[in-house]
Subunit: 775 residues, 2 copies
């Protein structure tokens, strides 16, 4: 529905030659508050009369609820409310795309994170006592915990009237059978990626209160405040206007806070009690409940000529979404889009299965299906190279997608220069061509190896999804500017970039711009901070808001100076004539324009636009149009006695158009590579019969500064035709290729083909024993 | 600077035949919160760590400050800050148009309300102790307390380099000498109006706090939050973006909160201490400090033929502004505009003097110069009628300004039908023609009389002043709408009317609209709630915001129904085809439009527009273009033994275009007449040598429900060409004619011509003794 194809996407010409603000180093606009401890997070809000909110979670991952009796719990001293499914005034369901998860379960619990009751009490102790006093009688049901079991036709059904494969997407291009027939080499493997935890620093929480007029105000770290508002209103049976969502500082999200977590539960308790409610998940509850990165089982078949040219590809991905649809389908769509990698694949079939199980629920996490797809495909490409004795870089160059060529999804590639550029760059950075000069056996028990992986990252939500944002700019008489955006900056730096875009577009210094971030009473909807869409979509909204104000300023400048308007410009707060500064400031213009009753506030709206004729709807109707490319090189040491993999160096070259905020971009690169490193080496939720066993950051290990290897990250800058000031997305791509690069390096070091991550010592040792790795 | 003359003011056609929301009775949108006590006013905000802020006021109305020593005050336990002029980081001045009043006096105090120091302490007691401990050495100076003395060339000067007559405006039209030469009757009198207190229920106050990032947040009842923000920023040396002004519920203003009161002082203390500051004026401080309705001395000379046709008018008004310019000039401009009344005066000269004295400062109050002007002119018209033996109504009809005729200010009258209509209506309501049938001597000591007065009210700020507003509308997926307006509803009902306009323009029910009121972080500037400009200016801004959303909805409706768009309309939330309801709701349209990525949020901006060629700049450059008319009839009883005037009945007929909110409009009419009654009969600040002696509501008497007479108010509805949905201003006109009507009734009852208000028993008795009133 959301697609707008325009002959030439309406892009305000922002490919300026010498930007004054964008591209320059700057501290994050909210950095000082964060590093000085002044930033207030959800957990920092305390109000008089505040109650503790807690949830009762199911005792079993799959069970029928025979009876819920909260009568005794309601008698516990200090308890103000106990809410079950029966007390939800509106819709008892939530989640992101498919709102199919009950807020409070009435009949059947289907995973370990299902909540049954919500309690508001005067103390943690009273709340805990009330939770313990709620009588729930369960009839335990057998669970379905294996995705490949769940897809079998004779499998038990998670839902009475819904197939376990709740969505199956097939993308086909060319003649796959002919492609394989023409193949001289066929590589076939089944890969397995794990369930991964976002491990944001700040666990989910919400502080909700009820105003005297019945309005519900919810403070919560989240990614999509306006959608949260909608869902809160829907469950509380209020109009949206009677719900206000305020997003304070947020301690990370990585996709894990894209859907609501405890906002609705806290709001329900606030509505029921009239008292402020503080509901903060413990880390254990956080890991138990929220969506994870999908574990995907990937059957991958790759056909190629002896020269290494791909003739066909067949990929089937089975994504384990847990028991609720939520957005597994969307993740598997993105998996599909990226399954063929940044390569020209003339004959392809990709099947993506969205599968329901009784495992923990899965959803958005940085990369959103791409890391899984790339792990398989980039491992396959490496196996192909080895099989035909070609350098892994060469095999990628031979198949690299080219501008104007069609991807497997039928999309005509707009600009693929970044593919070759990043490969070239990463080769130089890492000394790829000279790697054989480095000692491969630095100690008798150690083997060194090098691995390469490429990536492409499609961004935005796709032409079939409404993908838009508002921005409001307000210029004051003193020349200072308020930028109101409804998009969340949960650490990714979006507010800094949007402030830069506003300052550049208005001709001001960055310090003139203050960002008012998401608060549904202050800002208009800008959509979720997801899909690497913020700089592009919200940035264009800012540009559109800036244009009329800039026009008013220039017109005022022309009147004040009696000079032709087209000779005037504003740069860093100073009016220039043909590049020469005049004695006239933007501040003076602002005051003069206001005195002339010229509007210096403006609303910008941007809805994703796409060039015409680049999609082939017969193949797939919701692909990506815009892509960035990148490549990783990993240098590893494998201990052949223990299987321990030590990553010595990681190199990332990424094409990201023009870099708007160099330090912020570097943070994204290094952060993404670190996260990819964790994905590759150490991070895995241990799930036994639907229960995660490592529900703390002591048992679920993420890389610390001690663990993270030497990272060399570089952006190959270019000027994108479509993004604000020539920028491209960069927040997710950096996490995508790392796992495959490291696994390929392990292959290089000890000769074992790893099909499963993370590459724990046990797994590598076992593989060496099975496959007979090089000693 | 602000003038926009357009061939036809760009008015969205809103003169619909059958509006569904406007014109219908409705409770005020914020009424429930107010009557249930849920509304939070400034004084209701308490935060942890809050300090009490207090100001040290001058001990003398006029004195040189020899020394200020705050050292001892700073040692008082519990005192966190003592600020004098030396500690103001930015501009040490404020006020509305001319920011010439120091926040904290450095050298010379010039009126009783001047503040010298600000104190922040942990308790009222500590603050009081600190105030007492501030050592101020004064050298008392002689004061200038009489406006007619102040204008004498040999008068002492209030300011070293500024004339006591800081502004003198002359408006001249025709040949005044010839006009008087042609006059057969000349009426000449000097009138005196008093200094009047707004007596808003809620005294001024502010609660200020400092955020961790240095932003200053001020909660305060006020009329112009964005201008307050500007002045706070200016004095605190902060960019405007670092100041946030939030307007909670406001307990009345009537012009008296148009300029800042203690907002800046409280903000200075918050900035200095980092602690929340609560600074609430006592009633005594309130009356001592804030601007009042100007006392004006008016010399009035009226020439007419024996038939009662005006040939010439000469008016000189001397407005006592106290020692600061502030906006005395603007009040005297409005005085000038209205000095010739709603009459055609071919030859006129009006002089308006803005005079500085050491009396309490004067500024905006409902009517803003009009009640003073009308008191004189309407009394004169009555004297003229008596002199020539004509019915007072007849003399007014003979001179009534006509559409297309020029006013004394050179303005071509756009529509004067309301003048005759309201006269006709008030005659009917009051039984004017049959009044002689009523007993004129109901008791030996009582005399009954009837008085008539007309009024015209020009509205908006005038073409030379930037007069504009923004409004933001946001329609949610559930069809509910947020209207963000920066304009204050301090009780006048503006938010209800704006919500009605939004609902009507979008085709929704009023209950679908929620108003988000002024908070500089949430809303854009809409200017001050003054000059009866809100419905017109902010209403047009709302209409402009609504238009594109309504277009999107209709377009969506056309697509969903496959019907031609021009056959479709939306009324009360239901889509209609040629007036017949369809099975399609606005809510469904909203959801469908959003799914299509259509923007349902919009910003509207409106800057006052004027028809071309109606102003004659040679005469006066900042007159009013838009006027309403009205008439009062008063029926009084005068006790000839005591002089006591009892007003039995007051009738108001007012022309106000289409009435948008009938109950709200009635409230404005009755409230205005009551205030005019108080002005006429009882309200007067007793000022002795610059000091007000009645600084409480026990000593300054405003009419209570016991005092207010029977009021009959009626609007003569019409459909204005320019106002939203045909509306005109109505919030100020009702206060304008009452004083003259009652004084004219006293003239009718006992034959004395009162030239001074209020008409206290003492004054009436004295006049009867002097003039020999009828017994």
């Amino acid at each position: 529905m959301g697609v707008r194809m325009v002959a030439r996407p309406e892009v305000i010409p922002t490919q300026v030659e010498e930007p004054a603000v964008v591209g320059r180093r700057t501290p994050a606009v909210n950095g000082l508050a964060i590093v000085t401890g002044c930033a207030r997070y959800t957990t920092d809000f305390y109000w008089p009369g505040m109650l503790v909110g807690q949830l009762l979670y199911t005792a079993y991952p799959h069970a029928r609820i025979v009876r819920i009796d909260a009568a005794r719990a309601r008698q516990v001293p200090g308890v103000h409310a106990v809410i079950t499914h029966a007390e939800v005034p509106g819709e008892n369901s939530y989640m992101l795309y498919d709102t199919d998860q009950p807020l409070l379960i009435a009949d059947v619990v289907r995973y370990q994170g299902d909540a049954i009751a919500a309690v508001a009490a005067e103390s943690e102790e009273a709340a805990a006592e009330a939770l313990a006093a709620i009588e729930v009688e369960y009839e335990e049901l057998p669970g379905l915990f294996d995705v490949m079991e769940a897809v079998r036709p004779d499998a038990q059904q998670i839902w009475p009237r819904r197939s376990n494969v709740y969505h199956h997407l097939t993308v086909q291009r060319g003649d796959v059978a002919a492609g394989f027939a023409a193949a001289e080499i066929i590589i076939e493997n089944t890969y397995q990626t794990q369930c991964m935890e976002q491990a944001f620093l700040e666990p989910e929480g919400a502080v909700a209160s009820k105003e005297s007029d019945g309005t519900i105000v919810v403070h919560a770290g989240c990614q999509a405040p306006h959608r949260d508002r909608r869902q809160i209103a829907r469950s509380l049976a209020l109009p949206e206007t009677k719900v206000r969502v305020i997003v304070p500082y947020v301690g990370g999200a990585f996709g894990g806070k894209d859907e609501t977590h405890v906002q609705i539960h806290a709001a329900l308790l606030a509505q029921a009690t009239g008292r402020p409610i503080r509901m903060i998940r413990t880390r254990e509850e956080s890991i138990r409940t929220h969506v994870k990165r999908h574990a995907v089982t990937i059957r991958h078949r790759l056909g190629a000529t002896k020269q290494g040219v791909i003739t066909a590809m067949e990929v089937a991905g089975y994504g384990d979404g847990g028991p609720y649809a939520n957005m597994t389908r969307q993740v598997m769509e993105v998996f599909t889009i990226h399954a063929s990698g940044p390569y020209y694949v003339p004959n392809a079939r990709i099947d993506a299965y969205s599968v329901l199980t009784n495992n923990p629920i899965a959803g958005a996490m940085r990369g959103f299906g791409m890391p899984q797809a790339h792990f398989a495909t980039e491992r396959q490409m490496d196996e192909l190279a080895r099989k035909i004795g070609l350098d892994p870089m060469e095999v990628r160059l031979r198949n690299a997608i080219e501008t104007g060529k069609k991807m497997a999804t039928g999309v005509t590639t707009l600009d693929a220069a970044g593919m070759r550029n990043s490969l070239k760059e990463v080769a130089e950075m890492s000394g790829w061509r000279k790697r054989q000069r480095v000692e491969r056996r630095p100690a008798p028990h150690l083997r060194r190896g090098w691995g390469l992986a490429c990536m492409m990252q499609g961004y935005l939500l796709g032409p079939k999804v409404a993908d838009n944002a508002f921005a409001i700019l307000e210029m004051n008489e003193d020349g200072s500017v308020m930028l109101r955006t409804g998009v969340v900056d949960y650490g990714q730096g979006s507010h800094t970039v949007l402030a830069q875009i506003a300052a550049e577009a208005l001709g001001l210094e960055l310090t003139s711009v203050r960002v008012i971030g998401p608060d549904t009473d202050k800002t208009l909807e800008s959509g979720s901070a997801c899909a690497s869409r913020v700089t592009f979509i919200c940035g264009h909204a800012v540009l559109r808001a800036a244009k009329p104000i800039h026009d008013q300023l220039l017109q005022t400048a022309a009147e004040l100076t009696n000079l032709p308007r087209n000779e005037l410009s504003i740069r860093l707060g100073i009016v220039h004539r043909n590049g020469t500064p005049l004695e006239l400031t933007a501040r003076q213009l602002a005051a003069a324009a206001r005195a002339r009753s010229r509007p210096l506030s403006s609303l910008g709206y941007y809805s994703a636009e796409y060039p015409p004729k680049i999609f082939d709807e017969r193949v797939f109707d919701n692909p990506c149009a815009y892509y960035t490319f990148g490549a990783n090189v990993a240098q590893v040491l494998v201990d052949i006695e223990t299987g321990q993999v030590t990553v010595e160096k990681l190199f990332l070259a990424q094409d990201a158009g023009r870099i708007l905020n160099p330090d912020g971009a570097l943070g994204q690169a290094e952060g993404g590579v670190s996260m990819g490193f964790g994905y590759s080496i150490m991070e895995e939720l241990i799930i036994e019969k639907g229960r995660t066993r490592n529900n703390s950051l002591e048992s679920y290990l993420i890389p610390t500064v001690q663990d993270v290897p030497e990272i060399h990250a570089k952006y190959c800058e270019s000027v994108d035709r479509y993004g604000p000031y020539g920028s491209r997305a960069l927040s997710e791509g950096s996490v995508v290729p790392t796992a495959a690069a490291i696994a390929n390096a392990v292959r290089d070091a000890v000769g074992v083909s790893m099909v499963r991550i993370p590459l724990t010592a046990e797994r590598v040792l076992a593989a060496m024993n099975e496959q007979g790795g090089k000693a």
